[in-house]
Structure formats: C-alpha cells, structure tokens
Amino acid sequence: MRANYILKRILFAFVTVLVAITLNFVLFRAVPGDAVSALRCRQCTVHFKEVQRKELGLDEPLIVQYRLYITHLLHGDMGSSLRTEQPVMDELWAPIANTMPMIALGTVFSIIFGTIVGVVSAWRRDTFVDKAGLYTALGFYSMPTQWLGLLMVLFVAGALGLPTSGISNPTLGILTEPSTWAVVVDRLKHMVLPALTLGLVLYGDYALITRSAMLETLGEDYVLTARAKGLKNLQIVRKHGFRNALLPIVTLIALSLGFIIGGAITIEYVFSYPGIGLATVEAIDQRDWPVLQAIFLLLTLSVIFFNLIADLLYVKLDPRVVEA
C-alpha cells in the first residue's frame, strides 16, 4: 500500500519532468522567427550559427527537432550559450555553486524564526505578542523582494559596514595570498545582505503558515482533552500542537523550497551577486535563449524534486495519507 503510493508519486514526478521538458521545448520554439537567426546574436560567428542550426535541427520538422532536443538533454547537453559560444552547463555551474550557500543561509534563518514566531503567535493569540508577530510577518510578506533589497542597501548596509555588491572583495588577493579564513569571512560578508533579504521575505511566509497551522491544531478536541488532563500549556503546545501542525508546515516549506531559487532572481540582481539569478537577468538582457531555457528547465526540475520530497515526507509524517 505504502510502496504503491510512493511509486505513484515517483511516477507522477517522472511524467511531470517530461511535461516540463516538452513545455520548455514548445515555449522556445513558439518564439516568432527562427530560434537562431531571430536572436540578438550579432557577435555570433557565421560558423557558430550554422553549427547551431544543424545541432538544433532547425530545418527539420518539429517532431525531429523534439527528438533531437530530448536526445541532447539525455546526454546532459543543453546547447551552447549564444554569447560565449560555450556549452550552457559549463556556464551555469559556477553561478549555481554561488547561489546555493546564500539561499541556504536565508532559508535556515527564515525557517527558524518563522516557526518560532508562528508558534508563539498562535499560542498567545489575540494578545499583543500575537499582533506584533502577525503584523511584522504580514508586513514582510507584503514587501516586493527587490524593494526590500534596495532598502537593505540604502539603510542597513552602511550601518553594519557590509558590502552591497558582488561576491568577494577584488582587492583581497592583490598584495599577499589571503588566508582561507580571510576568504571565507569575505564571502560570508558578501552573503549576509542578500541572504537576510531572502530570509526576511520567507520569514513572513513561514510565520503565517505556521501560525495558521497551529491555530487549526489548537482547535482540535485532543488539545481540549490534554488541557482537561491538566498538562502544562508549554507541553500541550510542544507535544500536541506543534507535533501535529508539523505536517502542513513541513510540506508547505518543502514545496516553497523549489520556488525559492526563482524568487532569488531579483535579489541577486539588486546585490549583483553572481549566482543563477544574475545569470538569468544577463541571459534576458542578451537574449541568450539557450541559457534562459536551461535555467528555466533547472528551476522547474528543482520544484518537481521538492514536490516529490514533500509527498514522501507527507507519508513519513502521517501514514494515514496513504489510505485516503
């Protein structure tokens, strides 16, 4: 029964990947004009254009192009960047590696603070603490991410003495070879503001999710029973409330993880942080479709992946799901 459910979810994820790949193919073929010549590829060499045409099979019927596209994908080949004429995947590794730690820092921050504030808010509901928690969370939830980033640069960076752009200090290694420690500290300093921006916006999301999940659980009859048994409030919140509210909280957080990278695009743009988001903006500016296409596919795959994780966590946390 359980294995059956898990298998079904994996199958669904697999089919979704196929749909995503197809959508990715269709969207970029539906662009008015030829996928190579219509591009702003002025600096491309004639030879490169010819090779591209052949590789993408642009003179062939669509079905052949589709088959070619899938074959290339299965070999890990996402085409070549029109700007640098290098394979797209080689271009994207470094940005991905830059983005990951920043996003991880922001996400961990938001999960910790979001759940704590959400739980306390629901527990002390309608008190001053709840109102304060709720409205700060709502406030951060309502701010456009890029605008919060600009505010950080304007008001917070100066006060804390933190850098506002790039990923490392260019003067660091000029005179002497810097120690590993100095490099790490420098990286972290550049990471703090983008991560904090991301963290605050997500914090709003997570606090609201946790609060309403907790409110739902605290309305259950078993909470009333626990109180009737004379358990302490803290114990009820921890063992009866939070334990049961964990199910929607964990799934919703897992679901949102897939979307975070997409949301980080504007943040990286504001802070000129050379990650996958900045690569997206550059690809748009340069009309570098193969890069944009690859990024879009990667982002979709990450959402599908975290969706699957959420499904599997669901079974783990609440075995009743399978029977439903």
Binding site: F12, V19, A20, L23, L27, F28, V31, W123, L138, G139, Y141, S142, M143, P144, Q146, W147, L148, L150, L151, L154, F155, V201, D205, I209, S212, A213, L215, E216, L218, G219, R227, N233, I236, V237, G241, L247, P248, T251, L252, S256, F259, I260, I261, G262, G263, I265, V270, T280, V281, I284, D285, R287, L292, I295, F296, L299, T300, V303, I304, N307
Partner: protein, 318 residues
C-alpha cells in the same frame, strides 16, 4: 516569494469537504470574522488607493513625464516627495503609477478568476473524466515555477500591458481552481441541489442558480488574494526590464530608482514611496482576502488552548 500564499494552507490542512460540511448557513456579511478591524483596515486602504487611481489626473500636482525640478531634489514644499533621476515629481509619479499597478492587479486577477473558477466549477460539478483531466492539467501548472515562467513568457512574447496581464492571469489560476473544485464537490451533494436535479433542472441552471452563488464568496475572497499576487508579479517583471516601457507603474518606479542610481545619490525618496504603496495594497488585499476566507472557514475560530492561564476560550469570545 509569492509562491505559497498563506491561504494555500486551507486546502492542505483541513479536508475542505469536512470544513464546509460544518459551515453554518450564514451569509458572509454576518460572520463575526468579517467585522474584524483587519477587514475594515483592508477595505479602507484598498478604497483609498482605488480613489487615487480613478482621480489620478486630478490629483497629480505636476505632469509626471515632465522635468519640473532639479535631478534627485530632496522633498520640499514644492515637491513633497522630491524628484527622481530625470527631475520629475515623485508624488505625481506615484499617483500616476497607482493606475497601471491596480489595473494590472485587478485585470490579471479577473483573468485568473475566470479560468480558475470555470475549471473548478466544471471539474467539481461533473467529476469523472473531465475532473481527472482538468486536475491533471492543474497539477502540472502548479509545479511550474511561477516567476521564471512569467519572465520567460514576457521575454519571448513582448512587453505590452495586455500581454503582461494575460501572462499573470494564466499563471495564478491554479489555487483558485483547486479551492473552488473542493467546494463545488460538497455543494453538489447538498439537498437543495439534489432536489433541483430531481425536479428536472438542467445542469446549466444548477450551476448558475444553485452552485455558483454558494461558491461565489469563496471565489471573490480568493480573487482578492490573487490581486496581491498579480501586483507583486508586475513589479518583478518590470524590475527585470520586461515591463511596458511606455507606462508608469509602481514596479517601473522601483526599477527606475535602481537603474537611475538613486542609491548612489542616497535619494531614499525615489525608492521608498512606490514600495510603500505596493506593500500597503498587498497588505490590504491579504488582510481582506484572509478574513473573508476565515469567515467562510469557521473552524479557525475555535481555539482550545488558553492564552492566559485559567481561561478556556469559547466561540463567543471572538
């Protein structure tokens, strides 16, 4: 990061059918949750901005497209919010921007409401194969990362206002469809609908006269929440330089501040006001939409855990 609006929870945590079955038959307006201060504040803010948007040309002190002062002049009695990188009056720009931002927000939400409402109604009412097919499509739409998809479509298919509205609309209909489907499935089985069917009412009449009025309030509540998402989406798209270049919107003003070196000039007055407007409108929509949904989901009103010691909260205390 509008990927998961906090309302998504209602679909996940409670079996919606169970929650709906408990719903006493009272109208939305009579529910205590709708008379909360949050609702009133939400309506007030939204109403104020709507008025500003409608009467924008009368309220603008200067022509928002003309140079009426020094570049990045700080706030002064002549220019209450200072000027931007081209010397245009910020207050006039913010007032002018309210129009496009609210139009995008409401029009896109309307597109999402029509698609999501129709899919939800058909899916829930007819069930069976239609339901399976429509929900499968919805599932696929749900996993596509919304912001990147909008960026890709906007980058590929042009930057006109109408395009942007449609792009946002076709991305945000999914949660509406899910919610409405669940509600319709329960309404369909209620006695009055079954009686209607028994005396020979056609499906179209059942949908229009009996089911739609019941799910209407929920549909509207959800649409109010979608307005917030749509305004967000507009600022994202515009910030990345994919907005309509000829129009002034709040998203455009934030982009202008960023590209026009407002930060280098420490011109906070060019950055803060448009963002505050977006935040306020989204806050208003979220509070309003949330309290409408809460009013329709009375389960949330019960809390057995006392806030302070020795007190058990009851329904009447709210």
């Amino acid at each position: 990061m509008s990927g998961t609006p906090p309302t998504a929870l209602n679909e996940q945590a409670v079996p919606v059918e169970a929650a709906i079955a408990e719903t006493p038959q009272v109208g939305l307006l009579h529910s205590p949750a709708i008379r909360k201060p949050a609702t009133i504040i939400g309506i007030a803010i939204l109403g104020l901005f709507l008025l500003v948007a409608i009467f924008a040309p009368l309220l603008e002190p200067y022509d928002p497209n003309a140079k009426t002062g020094a570049v990045f002049a700080p706030p002064s009695p002549a220019h209450w919010l200072g000027t931007d990188d081209s010397g245009a009056d910020m207050l006039s720009l913010v007032i002018a921007g309210s129009r496009v931002s609210l139009i995008v927000g409401f029009a896109a939400a309307l597109v999402a409401m029509v698609i999501g409402g129709a899919v939800g109604l058909f899916s829930g009412f007819y069930g069976g194969k239609i339901d399976g097919l429509l929900m499968r499509i919805t599932d696929y739409f749900l996993v596509i990362p919304d912001i990147p998809l909008m960026i890709v479509i906007a980058a590929l298919f042009g930057r006109r206002l109408g395009n942007i509205i449609i792009i946002i609309g076709i991305i945000y209909w999914t949660s509406t469809a899910r919610l409405i489907r669940a509600q319709v499935k329960s309404v369909r089985e209620r006695t009055y609908v079954r009686r209607g069917r028994a005396i020979g009412a056609k499906n179209s009449r059942l949908i229009w006269r009996h089911v739609l009025p019941q799910v209407g309030p929920l549909l509207i509540a959800n649409t109010v929440l979608t307005v917030a998402l749509a305004i967000f989406a507009e600022t994202y798209i515009t910030f990345l330089g994919l907005g309509d270049p000829s129009l002034i919107s709040w998203g455009k003003l934030i982009e202008n501040a960023f590209r026009g070196d407002a930060i280098l000039n420490q011109a906070w007055w060019a950055i803060v006001p448009p963002g505050v407007c977006v935040t306020l409108v989204i806050l208003a929509c979220t509070m309003l939409g949330q309290s409408m949904e809460d009013a329709l989901n009375p389960r949330l009103r019960v809390g057995h855990l006392s806030v302070r010691r020795f007190r058990l909260r009851t329904l009447e205390e709210r």
